[in-house]
């Protein structure tokens, strides 16, 4: 475990991170010229055979994206899915031992991309779509990463177990004794979504909420992708946190689940994609990056996966509350970077695991 440097130490020596804005960590620097998907790139990628994608997006969606990519280009996509905080550990552990297996990474904790960028591990590579269409606040000025997926971390409930009128409206509603033993919650030590959400919630509504929630006898799961599944099973009536996109896909496949956008605001999660300099399949990685940010893939993420997109050509799916109608908490990867270790430690103290 040579990579035991804490995130706070990582900050030392890096330039000041502009607070508030997502990715404008540096003044406009030299992002490389955009790369389009050319027959030459496809041929080179085919020769390499596969792209290895470490991601924390829900496995079924990750595999759908991988299969769609393979169907389109004849290049396989090996998906390595685990929680974002584990992806961080995994890559650190592998790189410390000189094992370079990852081509493209996707993390639901946007601060991880900053960590890898600061270590000098990321390749400056800008897919054509990113250069042409993506808003400035959703791409790294140095061209190292961009917002592949955007989604929310929401409260939700099982409509068979909870009537609509009785459903919680806010985070503080979850502290009602009537929900004791009925809540499922994911873990910030595993999930980047929950790490990011916990940061925003601690900032906006304070630790006291979590202190009281810890007394609600919650079912503590790991992945933010798990609570929606536990709701669908009927194992718990309410999720205190979890990914919005699976609530959509469960709901649309007929499961009795319903999201709640809390009155205090809903944490906004950004999951950027980045490519590694030492990628073992560099051309396949580039092709995959191009595919990920294409309108086609972004639309797939929305339609099948329930995600949201910042690609202007991607259309929101009818029946889902549009992002513009939801009160959001502000994302702040720089803030997460500074406090993640403390948040994890304090969380473990409160929830015991």
């Amino acid at each position: 475990m040579k990579s035991t440097i804490s995130r706070r130490n990582l900050l030392i020596g890096t330039s000041a991170l502009a607070a508030g804005s997502a990715f404008s960590t540096y003044v406009r620097a030299a992002a490389p010229p955009p790369t389009a998907t050319t027959p030459a790139l496809i041929a080179a990628a085919k020769k390499e055979g596969k792209a290895v994608w470490y991601t924390s997006v829900d496995l079924k969606l990750a595999q759908k994206i991988g299969k769609a990519f393979e169907a389109k280009y004849g290049v396989a996509c090996q998906v390595e899915r685990t929680g974002a905080e584990r992806v961080l550990q995994r890559i650190g552990q592998e790189y410390a031992a000189n094992v370079h297996a990852v081509d493209v990474v996707n993390s639901s904790d946007a601060s991880h991309l900053v960590i890898w960028k600061n270590k000098g591990w990321l390749e400056a590579y800008v897919p054509e779509d990113v250069a042409k269409y993506y808003p400035a606040e959703h791409k790294d000025p140095d061209g190292m990463f961009a917002s592949f997926r955007v989604f929310l971390c929401v409260i939700a409930y099982n409509t068979k177990l909870v009537k609509k009128e009785e459903a919680p409206k806010s985070f503080h509603d979850l502290l009602d004794p009537k929900w004791k033993g009925k809540i499922v919650k994911a873990h910030p030590g595993y999930s980047g979504t929950i790490m990011t959400a916990t940061f925003q919630m601690v900032r906006d509504i304070g630790w006291s909420y979590f202190e009281q929630l810890a007394k609600q006898n919650i079912l503590q799961v790991q992945s933010a992708a798990d609570p929606p599944k536990k709701l669908a099973l009927g194992e718990r009536a309410i999720q205190a946190d979890g990914v919005e996109y699976l609530i959509f896909s469960e709901k649309e496949s007929g499961q009795p689940v319903e999201p709640v956008y809390a009155t205090e605001g809903t944490p906004l999660i950004i999951g950027p994609n980045g490519m590694f300099k030492a990628a073992p399949h560099p051309n396949a990685a580039k092709l995959f990056q191009n595919y990920c940010f294409s309108p086609e893939c972004q639309q797939l993420c929305i339609d099948v996966g329930g995600l949201r997109s910042v690609h202007p050509q991607a259309k929101e799916k009818p029946g889902r509350t549009p992002l513009s109608k939801i009160k959001l908490m502000k994302d702040d990867p720089a803030g997460v970077l500074k406090t993640a270790d403390e948040i994890k430690a304090h969380y473990v103290k409160l929830f015991h695991v």
Partner: protein, 574 residues
């Protein structure tokens, strides 16, 4: 037929060149590297601070912090209860299967084998499907039958008692196998003698059968205790959702980002100490009672006639087997074909989507199946060879320092797989042995972890074969190796196959070291299943779990077929 007060010393020959010496020394050297290297790194980390200076600060932090003492206490209670439950269930069942005319005895053995090839983490997940308080199938049935309110439940698997139950379910086969095998080997003539001298059935059981089986029961209890203590998967799956840690999950959590390897190393030392004490305790309990039950003559054990209790006996055995086998596999099968794992398969709920996902969409499937089975076969073959030689050396006291060898072979049992995993990680990520990222590091982990149990089994097998047969061979001029090969090995063939299968299945079951040592290209099935559990993909787990059970069973059956040349079926041995 001999009951020796102690295993007689084998005299060492002082003339001629015996090639067995260098070979034995080579095995000793291998064992040293396998075990001493990672343990040294652990000791180094336990006693140093971040800068590498000597400190006992890590231990002070452990003792002062309730967050460490609670898991220690929990683990101790967990292991004790599990060991007790396992013995209480396995001893009578082993006796029923081995020494009575209970119907379906062979079937019961086969089914215990099935429960043994079930990895405990898979069992834990299956029991989530059965006994999660709200969605569990058994709790749904309970509410259906009693009309209880929707939030009432009969069982809660996310609890300490739930964890004890699940761990016992999947530890009990170890104890059962040890006891049933010991009873198989116990000749009937002692019992006959007792009966001829006028003793009743119970008296004979109490004075003859039980004492003869006692070493196996004690060894079984020890194995069960240590299994329960070092298990990682089941507590990670069941205890953490409930909000408590055991030592292994605590140690594991210390390796999560930001990792604290020094505390984890220090936290593993109490477990090591406890194990050493237990091993001492075992030898004190067994004392000088070495039972050699296979001698130059043998007689088939006499079966106790149960009469009308036969059917009661088989009913009880089946109820016991429902817990590790029938119910979990029913739940997994149901989840495989159900759209929602908590609903029973029906016409409207039936789907093949889960199978399709695992075999045609999940990109990790091929890779992990290939890795797992390569590792299983290699680790089983190498591990069996090492265990055979080392247990021979210690059982026959063939070289000076054999006790050290025995200790080394048993030592890894004291180290939770996860901690050994980290020790290996440190050992093999730097020159001269850069193995991280290859299958070799996993192979080393598996062989090392399998060694204690494989060694214990081989050794108790050796103990049961009296050296008089080998001595006869050596008196007639055979070398030590030749005697081993021509006399002892054939006698132990069943045990060798059993140990091979045991290690193979152990590889499939192993999660805790693998989870520290895998990379994306060297992932194994257990790690994939654990990943899937963390993201709640129960259907995919069910498909993979059933697929794993089928392949493992086929390999175990094949191994038995290949070696079943006139001997007693080795299925009996597993």
């Amino acid at each position: 037929m001999t009951i020796a007060a102690s295993a007689p010393r084998v005299s060492r020959r002082s003339f001629g060149f015996d090639p067995s010496k260098p070979i034995l020394l080579l095995f000793a050297a291998i064992l040293c590297v396998l075990i001493i290297l990672p343990i040294s790194w652990l000791a180094y980390y336990a006693f140093t601070d971040a800068k590498g200076a000597f400190t006992v600060n890590n231990f002070q932090r452990l003792v002062a912090d309730a967050a460490f003492l609670d898991p220690l206490l929990t683990t101790f209670m967990l292991a004790t209860l599990s060991a007790f439950i396992c013995c209480a269930v396995a001893a009578p069942m082993g006796w029923l299967v081995s020494r009575t005319d209970m119907p379906l005895r062979r079937t019961v053995r086969l089914l215990v084998t099935a429960s043994f090839v079930t990895p405990p983490f898979l069992g834990a997940i299956a029991w989530e499907l059965l006994a999660a308080p709200n969605s569990g199938l058994l709790n749904q049935l309970f509410r259906e039958l009693t009309g209880a309110a929707p939030d009432e439940h009969l069982l809660n698997i996310y609890s300490f008692s739930g964890l004890v139950f699940v761990i016992s379910c999947y530890t009990f086969p170890y104890v059962f196998v040890l006891i049933a095998n010991a009873l198989d080997r116990t000749p009937g003539d002692l019992e006959d003698a007792s009966a001829m001298l006028g003793a009743g059935a119970w008296y004979t059981a109490r004075r003859i059968t039980v004492p003869l089986a006692l070493p196996a029961v004690v060894a079984g209890a020890l194995v069960a205790f240590l299994q329960a203590m070092t298990l990682f998967g089941s507590p990670a799956i069941l205890a953490m959702p409930a909000g408590f840690h055991t030592m292994t999950t605590k140690i594991w959590s210390l390796f999560q980002f930001p990792p604290k390897p020094e505390l984890a190393a220090a936290a593993s030392l109490p477990l090591l100490l406890l194990t050493v004490l237990l091993l001492r305790g075992q030898s004190m309990v067994l004392g000088r009672r070495g039972y050699s039950v296979v001698g130059g003559k043998n007689s088939e054990p006499r079966l106790v006639r149960l009469g009308r209790y036969r059917w009661l006996a088989i009913a009880l055995a089946m109820i016991v087997l429902a817990c590790p086998v029938f119910l979990p596999y029913f739940a997994l099968l149901n989840a495989t074909f159900s759209k929602v794992a908590s609903h029973l398969v029906s016409v409207s709920n039936f789907t093949l989507q889960n199978l399709h996902f695992v075999f045609f969409e999940l990109s990790a499937t091929d890779l992990v199946l290939r890795n797992t089975f390569i590792l299983g076969v290699l680790a089983a073959t190498i591990g069996t060879m090492i265990a055979l030689v080392i247990s021979y050396v210690t059982a026959r006291r063939a070289v000076t320092g054999h006790a050290v060898l025995g200790f080394l072979a048993t030592a890894p049992i004291a180290i939770p797989g996860i901690v050994l995993g980290v020790g290996l990680f440190f050992s093999y990520t730097r020159p001269p042995f850069v193995l991280y990222g290859t299958l070799w590091i996993l192979l080393i982990a598996y062989v090392t972890l399998a060694m204690p149990a494989a060694y214990q089994q081989m050794q108790s097998a050796f103990r049961a074969v009296h050296p008089e047969l080998e001595d006869a061979s050596r008196i007639l001029g055979a070398s030590r190796l030749r005697a081993l090969w021509q006399i002892t090995a054939p006698l132990l063939r069943t045990n060798v196959v059993a140990v091979w299968c045991f290690i193979f299945v152990g590889v499939i079951r192993e999660l805790s070291a693998a989870i520290m040592l895998f990379t994306s290209q060297t992932k194994v099935l257990s790690v994939l299943i654990y990943d899937l559990n963390e993201s709640g993909d129960l259907a995919a787990i069910s498909v993979l779990g059933l697929c794993m059970l089928i392949i493992t069973s086929l390999i175990v059956l094949l191994a038995n077929k290949l070696t079943k040349l006139g001997g007693r079926p080795a299925t009996a041995g597993i």
